[in-house]
């Protein structure tokens, strides 16, 4: 078999993100479906207003959080498929040369959907374990009668089976699209020449600064994911801090957990992939006598501004989102604290982000330092 279990294990990033997506969506959508049964029994204005606010919150949260997570997973999956085809070009080229059609080969990529199935099923199950506590939390003010947790098969279908099937199809079609090359091109893994030139002339730019900018240009997916991880960290931590004041500690906990899981999974995967992809270059730089600092700066240093931009965008995003949520969802509810930009949250999480990010960069610098010189000699 072309794609084995080991290949699938590398997709644990997709599984974790989909687990988070299924967890959040199951919580809020299940609650929305169960609470619908008591709508007609609500008598007080306060209860009706809270009901409407909770329904809207559930829809917005499921759409925004779930949507973002699903898009992230889709991009992660495509990134994996592309990497898989690039690194197995020789095997795929041989299959094609032997007469295996693109579609027949691409169909084998359906197994990538299994990582989505595993993640969604885990998230769905975890949400059902947490739902009783979540229902109590949502009705903390006791404005509604107690609601029992019901199993909704339609939710299972939409949040577990459907995403797995869609992601399998996505993997198949993307693989099919990527395989549309002559067999020789796959076999040679022919290098695409990027003709984009820098404004600065070749003469002016030093080798290391050229390498830094090439690292960014050549690995756009890593740029996206590193910026995204900083965005997640920034948005989710600061939002959860504000949510603690506006909603509840438990809500804040869910948000910060998802944010941190997402941020670290994407950062870990992106940096691992960057280091792996540049192993040969790093080994060559070492052979020529470039110092460990120069090597790690050339490969990882380029991503530093990207991550800080991601953090800044995340800060603005969470502020904007909470502002909109407050004006749309909680506009009719009294005794809700007004919301302004949370400088305290920024003062806490910006230094924390810098510390954590630099620590991870340092850990990967050590990994780069250990890259074996023999690696290039033995290939």
């Amino acid at each position: 078999m072309l794609i084995n279990v080991k290949s699938l294990l590398k997709l644990f990033g997709v599984s974790i993100v989909m687990c988070c997506a299924a967890f959040v969506c199951t919580l809020f959508l299940s609650y929305n479906m169960d609470i619908a049964g008591i709508k007609d029994s609500l008598s007080s204005d306060a209860a009706v207003t809270l009901y409407n606010a909770l329904i809207t919150t559930g829809k917005v949260t499921a759409a925004v959080a779930g949507g973002c997570l699903v898009i992230t997973s889709a991009v992660l999956l495509l990134f994996y498929v592309k990497n898989y085809i690039d690194s197995h070009g020789r095997d795929l080229g041989i299959l094609k040369a032997l007469g295996c059609s693109n579609m027949k080969t691409a169909l084998r990529f359906w197994v990538f959907g299994l990582s989505v199935l595993a993640g969604c099923a885990a998230g769905f199950a975890a949400a059902y374990l947490y739902l009783p506590a979540f229902y109590k939390l949502q009705n903390a003010e006791k404005l509604f009668p107690d609601i029992a947790v019901k199993f909704h098969f339609s939710l299972f279908l939409c949040l577990v089976i459907l995403p797995s099937a869609v992601f399998s199809l996505l993997a198949i079609f993307y693989a099919w699209y990527k395989l549309k090359k002559p067999p020789l091109e796959l076999l040679k893994n022919a290098h695409e020449i990027k003709n984009k030139r820098n404004k600065q002339s070749d003469k002016e730019r030093s080798f290391l600064s050229e390498l830094r900018s090439n690292t960014l240009r050549g690995k756009k997916s890593a740029v996206f994911f590193i910026a995204f991880s900083a965005f997640c960290f920034s948005a989710m931590t600061q939002m959860s801090f504000s949510m603690k004041k506006l909603a509840s500690a438990q809500m804040a906990f869910i948000m910060i957990t998802i944010g941190l899981v997402l941020a670290f999974v994407t950062l870990f995967l992106s940096l691992s992939s960057v280091v792996k992809e540049h192993a040969k270059t790093v080994a060559l730089l070492e052979a020529f006598g470039y110092t460990p600092k120069e090597r790690s700066k050339a490969v990882l240093g380029a991503y530093r501004p990207v991550s800080y931009i991601g953090f800044a965008v995340g800060t603005l995003y969470q502020y904007g989102l909470l502002k909109i949520m407050m004006s749309l969802v909680y506009a009719d509810i009294q005794n809700i604290a007004s919301y302004g930009f949370d400088f305290v949250a920024l003062a806490i999480f910006l230094p924390l982000f810098v510390a954590v990010y630099e620590l991870m960069m340092f850990a990967y610098s050590l990994k780069i330092k250990k890259t074996s010189l023999k690696k290039i000699m033995t290939e």
């Binding site: 070749d202 090439n214 006598g289 110092t291 010189l373």
Partner: protein, 230 residues
């Protein structure tokens, strides 16, 4: 002068232990051109790696002008390679996203060599310096790799099967460039090859067999790249 004294190099441990070098003693004089010959598994590449500071010996010493580099820490070895050594590999290992000129700057920047254009011209690639490796032939890529190594003005140039991936005509051309540049710039050259004919171009030939030096032979009349068989 490079001196290797009783150098041993082994890989693995226990039953899987492999002795790649078993007590090698050899001297390479400044400005000399030495070819290390041997079959696959004879220890010739390990000898090159240990001599160049890419690997440290298990025991024994590698002395450069009396200084034992085998006792160096990683940082010191890196600094040593930066100052003294250039490499040319069989598979070129050019950076694919960079032009030939930028690949050469990889070596030139280490020596703060602003005149690296001259070395590009010297390997006959003046007109192709803006091309990417994928746009160059195998021979041209190897010439870029030679220019990259020489642009850092090394004292010693180490070559691992420099013509191994090239056809006869291109191989001869690359070898000719190397010999001419060596004569012009005066660096020491240590090349590993399995091609017996190439040895005829060297000042001295070291023949390796099963991790030991089987023979060291001086060549009083080295031939040019176009005078040897292939």
């Amino acid at each position: 002068m490079i001196e290797l004294k009783n150098v041993y190099k082994s890989y693995g441990s226990g039953e899987s232990k492999t002795e790649a070098l078993k007590g090698v003693d050899v001297t390479v004089d400044d400005g000399e051109y030495v070819v290390i010959l041997g079959a696959s598994g004879s220890g010739k590449s390990t000898l090159l790696n240990v001599t160049s500071g890419l690997e440290t010996p298990t025991s024994g010493g590698v002395f450069y002008d009396g200084e034992d580099i085998s006792a160096f820490k990683d940082e010191e070895l890196t600094a040593f390679r930066r100052r003294n050594v250039g490499f040319v590999f069989q598979q070129y290992y050019l950076l694919p996203d960079m032009t030939a000129e930028k690949n050469v700057r990889m070596g030139a920047d280490l020596a703060d060599n602003k005149d690296y254009g001259q070395i590009i011209a010297a390997v006959g690639l003046e007109n192709k310096k803006k091309k990417y490796p994928a746009q160059l032939s195998g021979g041209e890529q190897q010439r870029v790799s030679i220019a990259r190594a020489l642009a850092k003005k090394p004292r010693i140039l180490f070559l691992d099967e420099p013509t191994g991936a090239l056809d006869e005509a291109t191989g001869r051309q690359v070898l000719d460039y190397l010999i001419k540049l060596k004569r012009e710039l005066g660096f020491t050259m240590v090349a590993v090859t399995h091609n017996e004919n190439i040895a005829a171009t060297a000042d001295r030939i070291i023949r390796m067999n099963s991790g030991v030096i089987a023979e060291i032979k001086s060549n009083p009349a080295p031939k040019s790249a176009y005078e040897i068989g292939w």
